[in-house]
Point group: C2
Chain length 472, copies 2
């Protein structure tokens, strides 16, 4: 293995060696973006843990491990393979060869949840993250640049990463000339996956001026900074805070609409048309619409990371509103569930329902913390026979289930159909229309407001229940 | 008086009679905008209560009762006087002559506050509003159009206004052919006062199709709808909800930043640069900056109106987040106060401080619910000698105080200067710079982040404490 790394570096002689730590949703794509830099100046080694062997093997065999609708992902990957500028391994020896290490590992929040997913507490365990830092620090080059991209509790680079490097460098008898920077990604899996790295705004900082300068130089070689200028902040706490604030703001804006959704339903108001009217104001363009709930890796945990850091790393305030936002969003699917149970009443058990979409994100196959899960679990617990459909999710890892993405699901007879994820294929591209045409007496539950009046008028034999509309 | 109204209508023969009920910040300007309609088709009578005689007399003498930096206000007023298309009165006989009545009266929330302005409860009293509606209903024309512009609890037009008109029409033996519509204004006192009516988006509705049609027709004659198209919503609950949702959203977004402000200060982060970095994202452009607090007539009460309506008029949920936003915002000035007291410690009593700006709004003289009031009260209670300055507020009605708007205040010797309102005159136009140049050893407290690094570097003999910055 060691010789393979040496060999890879030899092939790429003259290039800087960039090691990407963590080959998940961010690291895998970051790797191939760096391996395709304009000046072709980097040899990229992706490192992941031995238990992620399947990912490493897939990458080295030429199979990109994440399904994506973004063609660029495959182009970039193919190109990196062709020019031999990317190699994946689980061998930590790679860190010894790195000029730059990009940290793209996960950092999880563990939630304590009660009945109906009520958030009763949470904890942040930094142990794995610390081990990962030590893994680099005990073998890296003396003047390595560490670029942390992981979403971390504000304070991490200064209070956790830096001391580990200082400690290990002292043990190794080295002068601490390492550089540590932080720059958060805004990666969105989906049709603009590569562009969400290459063509998007970046915020960065360093633990000192020299570190920040090095990060800046590196980012200029990766990102189209002429169109998307970089923003340098005063210290690493600031960039770390920026990321979790950004996501807390979003989470809170989504959560805010939940009570208004119920109010609108009770007042006979179509909240979608109200939101559209309010969005006419430039200052109010990002007011959110009702929805099934919130999923994904970021909005579901970042506000908690922030509040934890505020209290534990800085002895500052609890971020109550941010914590509350997560709690409200986690439970949001219960509102759609309540709407369904209210409709069927005592007759619910034994009903057969089709859920369209399992992914948490429109037109993307990503099931991480999808809100469909709570709805699914509740309906199954109600003895409802649930059939799932998602063209982007052939396999649902959290449930260890295979999922139909073709047309078989539409051959069944159902009592209800539920919009789980508003993939374009359902409404925009007509699949739901066809299905409604050939079905009888369905109740159609739409938590996303994607079913328009036209479709409703065409299918008067069905009943439509749209969350956030007064006629629900 | 009656004959004066008849005479005014006679002069304006052939024109429709529009009566504006309530001549406050909205009604006064709405009146002169209608009196200046493009087709010159309206004779406008402004009606207010007998205890507002000073306003009525001022208007009829040619003195506009609200100070404004918007020249158009005075142009429009002068023009309406010249063409005799506007007349003010307290005589309810005017309602009998109206083709259209525009309702622009206030509807207050009464807050129960504990120590340090803690919101402990609130109530909405609809009695005055109901009396006002009955005042119109018992004498109006059979086919009058009532356009409610007052910010009301959602449900008001349907559940309160309409029944009153039905009742009074039955008493009067009339066929209920009245029309009732709701369209909320987005009036901003300030340099764009007139334009905030004439050149801005409008949302409207009616209690039935005919009512909505009439409102639409009327609004087209007043507003530049070619550039700012109207939005028609399904029912009056929807437009009433839209207004309070809009303001609740804003209030909540401001409140959300308070905990983050404290976090940033404790983490040594400059929150202003973080916010600027986040605002690069089109979806995050309205994330708010730290501030002294929230004032004005709308954001301080509309979320409570909404939550009250949800519970009392529709038996729906408490809007907890919206209520909480008001509560946080009301207390926000305590953070600036804490920063000041922390700095001076036991030496606070007897210090002399200059507060720059009393108005709640930048470059506008409007003291309604200004957050400066709580800060002022706290400092006075601390035995601080406080001098106030505001070029837009010669008189502070809530405190019955005259305020210096000239340069006398700057001749004193102070221990601290506090940015109360970020009027341009202070930082942008150099008044603070001059003052700092001639003063010694001041502490400068800035809750708005308007003091930049340039000014700080120029005046190193002073100490700067900027809310939301790590160096506070």
């Amino acid at each position: 293995m060691k010789s393979k790394i040496d060999n890879f570096i030899k092939i790429n002689k003259g290039k800087k060696v960039v090691v990407v730590q963590g080959l998940g949703f961010v690291g895998a794509v970051m790797s191939i973006v760096v391996a395709n830099s304009d000046a072709n100046e980097y040899a990229v080694i992706g490192v992941d843990l031995p238990n992620r062997k399947h990912v490493i093997e897939a990458l080295n065999k030429g199979e990109f491990p994440i399904q994506s609708t973004d063609k660029k992902v495959y182009e970039y990957f193919k190109n990196a393979r062709k020019h031999k500028t990317f190699y994946a391994t689980s061998n930590n020896y790679a860190y010894a060869k790195a000029d730059i290490v990009i940290v793209d590992i996960n950092l999880d929040v563990v939630k304590e949840v009660g009945a109906n997913k009520k958030l009763e507490g949470y904890s942040v365990n930094m142990d794995d993250f610390k081990v990962a830092m030590r893994t680099i620090a005990c073998r890296c080059k003396e003047d390595v640049l560490i670029l942390v991209e992981t979403t971390v509790p504000p304070g991490t680079s200064q209070k956790i990463v830096k001391p580990i490097f200082e400690e290990e460098f002292e043990k190794r008898g080295l002068v601490p000339t390492f550089k540590i920077g932080h720059s958060y990604e805004r990666v969105m899996p989906g049709p603009g996956y590569v562009d969400s790295i290459k063509n998007f705004y970046r915020v960065f900082s360093g633990i000192n001026e020299e570190s920040a300068d090095e990060v800046e130089k590196f980012l200029h070689t990766i990102i189209t900074t002429t169109e998307y200028p970089l923003t340098r902040l005063g210290n690493t706490n600031a960039t770390e805070m920026s990321k979790v604030l950004e996501n807390s703001f979003r989470a809170m804006n989504i959560a805010f609409m939940q009570e208004w959704t119920e109010f609108a339903e009770n007042a006979g108001v179509n909240l979608y048309e109200v939101v559209n009217a309010i969005r006419m104001r430039p200052t109010h363009q990002n007011i959110m619409r009702p929805g099934l709930g919130v999923g994904g890796y970021c909005l579901t945990k970042d506000p908690l990371l922030a509040s934890w850091a505020s209290q534990e790393l800085f002895g500052s305030v609890t971020l109550n509103q941010s914590e509350k936002a997560v709690s409200i969003n986690d439970r949001m699917p219960l509102h759609t569930h309540k709407t369904i149970t209210k409709h069927f009443g005592a007759d619910l058990a034994g009903k057969k329902m089709l859920i369209l979409g399992v992914s948490y994100l429109q037109n993307v196959g990503d099931t991480r913390y999808t809100p469909v899960e709570l709805l699914y679990d509740k309906l199954v617990a109600d003895d409802v026979e649930v059939v799932l459909h998602d063209p982007f999710v052939p396999y649902w890892p959290e449930k260890d289930m295979t999922i139909d993405g073709g047309d078989n699901a539409f051959d069944g007879t159902y009592n209800a159909v539920i919009m789980g994820t508003p993939h374009d294929v359902y409404v925009k591209e007509g699949k739901l229309d066809d299905f409604l045409s050939k079905s009888d007496n369905l109740v159609v539950f739409d938590s996303h407001g994607v079913i328009g009046d036209e479709l409703r008028k065409k299918h008067t034999k069905h009943e439509f229940k749209i969350i956030g509309r007064g006629d629900v």
